[in-house]
Amino acid sequence: MFSWDTWQEIWDTVRRNRLRTVLTGFSVAWGIFMLIVLLGSGNGLRHGVEYQFRDDAINSIWVRSGQTSRPYKGLQPGREIQYVNEDYDEVVSRVEGVEYSSARYWLYGSQQVNYGKEWGSFSIRAVHPGHAVLERTKVLQGRFLNALDLREHRKVAVVGTLIADALFHGEPAIGKEIRISGLSFTVIGVFDDDGNDREREMIYLPITTAQRTFGGDNEIQQILYTTGDATLEESENMAESTKRILAENHTFDPDDPRATFINNNVENFQRMASMLDAIRIFVWIVGVGTLLAGVVGVSNIMLVAVRERTREIGVRKALGATPGSIVRLVLQEAVLITTIAGYAGLVLGVVVLEALARAVAEVEVFREPQVDLRVALSATALLVVAGAVAGFFPARRAAAIRPIEALREE
């Protein structure tokens, strides 16, 4: 179909109608360019949101206690609710669907930590082994806490990278004895965290050890667990039954908004995700609209072109051009222009996205704007097909030109 002669013919007409060709090409390139940039930006927003959730498990529920704000069963409002180990055990065993879980026992304020002559003030979190999953803690050396550490009340610690750097100056951390508020602990692991630096200045202790050593008794401040692959609805049910268990144990109104705070990441994430979906649909509509405008533009301009070339087409027919060859002449030009222009728009769009990605590298809500190459390519392919369709009607009109009328002397 595309012989050298065909190319020559197309090139001749393109060269002769530079402005028309450029305008047609521009409308197509613009359509693709906009589609790519819009889709890429949509993805950028999406990545930004995902980044926000990066350092915690997305499918997690976080429970923290508060102060009652409503009278309940003869009890005054304003009571401080203090969770204990039994609450945690009950939640984990009774709430259906709990996957990984941990309680948290905080030592308020930061604690002085010594190693030899080095010392610093760091936060302490006493947790269960499941905490590593919930915080997405990455163990770099050694190991995280395990069940045995808890059962035997071992005096072991897992420290953040920044602490390891500050205290050990690059020496192997495992096995080092550190003192936390004067009590001796053995370092069994070093971890990193995608969150901020505060997370890397953290020391994890077995919750049992910390409660006993630091006088916490059986108190805990927080209960957290992952919901596995629970749906949004299931996760809401889990949060609800968690609240009921705690309300029952501590005698407060389950509907009291201040007695217990539940942060359902599933819900948060879903809400963001559905907003993102909406944005994505919007972006597609706008993009496809732009594309359609490009297609209509191509069709229009090809129609004009055919009008302009009526006489030439008449001559060609008089010289023996078949209707088919006229259709091909017009169609191939349309397809060629849309292909080249579409590709140019694609490349330009990707370049702009890359530049944008570099410019916003430090922005958290808008990250890595990029477009699926398959989507980009299929958009271009679609446009080429559209170009063919856009060229088809003008081409058919061209083929129907009657030489006598085209050549009639005015």
Binding site: R316, K317, L319, G320, P323, L407
Partner: protein, 251 residues
């Protein structure tokens, strides 16, 4: 070569029908040089379009080289045009963005002749019309006479059996008209039937046979000796009509 019997053609003009050709009988043999004359509106252009397969006819019979041309599809008509018929137009109709050589080669392109061969043949035919040195010029860089010679070369390059020329000298001055006519006369010897539509007596005088159309019918059709002038032909029978034909020149 051409055999036409009782050819009818009418156009629809709104609700009216305009009967343009009212039963034409015409035979043209290979190697004949015929001029078709007639006032404007006499149907000569319509006849040429039908002979050139650019238009269909309603009734009658048209055999081209013995093949019935009735009810051809567009594509088949295009094939026949490309193999049998060459056109020369009053306003040349060269393709403006193609050089003389490319214009001449175009009919061969539609015949599927390979490029190299095509260019060789185009060069040959340009030489025949004396324009080898203008092969790479665009039509806009050529004079009217040169353009028409290119157009003739283009009409001939596909070796047609019939050459149809519609007022080929209408846009040219007398001197160039003569040159163009000489080229057309020279083709005759190759067995091509040349049909020239004209209203100029000088041009008709350079052909061997004159067909005179009046109102969609052949008024008269007789051989002619070149250079004798048309006065005697026009003066002969049907005095009333000849007067009309003689004065009914330009439109």
């Amino acid at each position: 070569m051409i055999r036409v019997r009782n050819l009818h053609k009418s156009y629809r003009m709104g609700s009216n029908r305009l009967h343009v050709l009212k039963g034409i009988d015409l035979d043209v043999a290979a190697g004949e040089l015929v001029s078709v004359m007639g006032a404007s509106g006499s149907g000569k252009s319509t006849l040429m379009n039908i002979l050139g397969l650019l238009d269909r006819f309603d009734e009658g019979e048209y055999l081209l080289d013995g093949v019935d041309m009735d009810g051809l599809s567009e594509t088949k008509a295009a094939r026949f045009r490309s193999r049998y018929i060459g056109f020369v137009f009053q306003s040349f109709h060269l393709i403006p963005f193609k050089t003389a050589a490319e214009n001449v080669a175009l009919p061969l392109y539609y015949q599927g002749v390979p490029r190299r061969e095509r260019n060789g043949m185009a060069a040959d035919y340009l030489e025949r019309v004396g324009l080898s040195d203008r092969a790479q010029h665009l039509p806009s860089e050529l004079s009217g006479g040169q353009q028409q010679r290119v157009a003739i070369a283009r009409a001939l390059v596909a070796r047609p059996k019939v050459l149809l020329a519609d007022e080929p000298t209408g846009a040219l001055d007398t001197g160039t008209s003569r040159e163009v006519m000489e080229v057309l006369q020279s083709i005759q010897s190759e067995g091509v039937a040349v049909i020239i539509i004209t209203h100029e007596h000088d041009i008709a005088d350079m052909t061997d046979r004159i067909v005179h159309l009046v109102d969609g019918r052949i008024d008269w059709d007789r051989p002619h000796s070149r250079g004798r002038g048309l006065e005697r032909d026009l003066a002969r029978p049907r005095a009333a009509l000849t007067g009309a034909a003689a004065s009914g020149a330009p439109a």
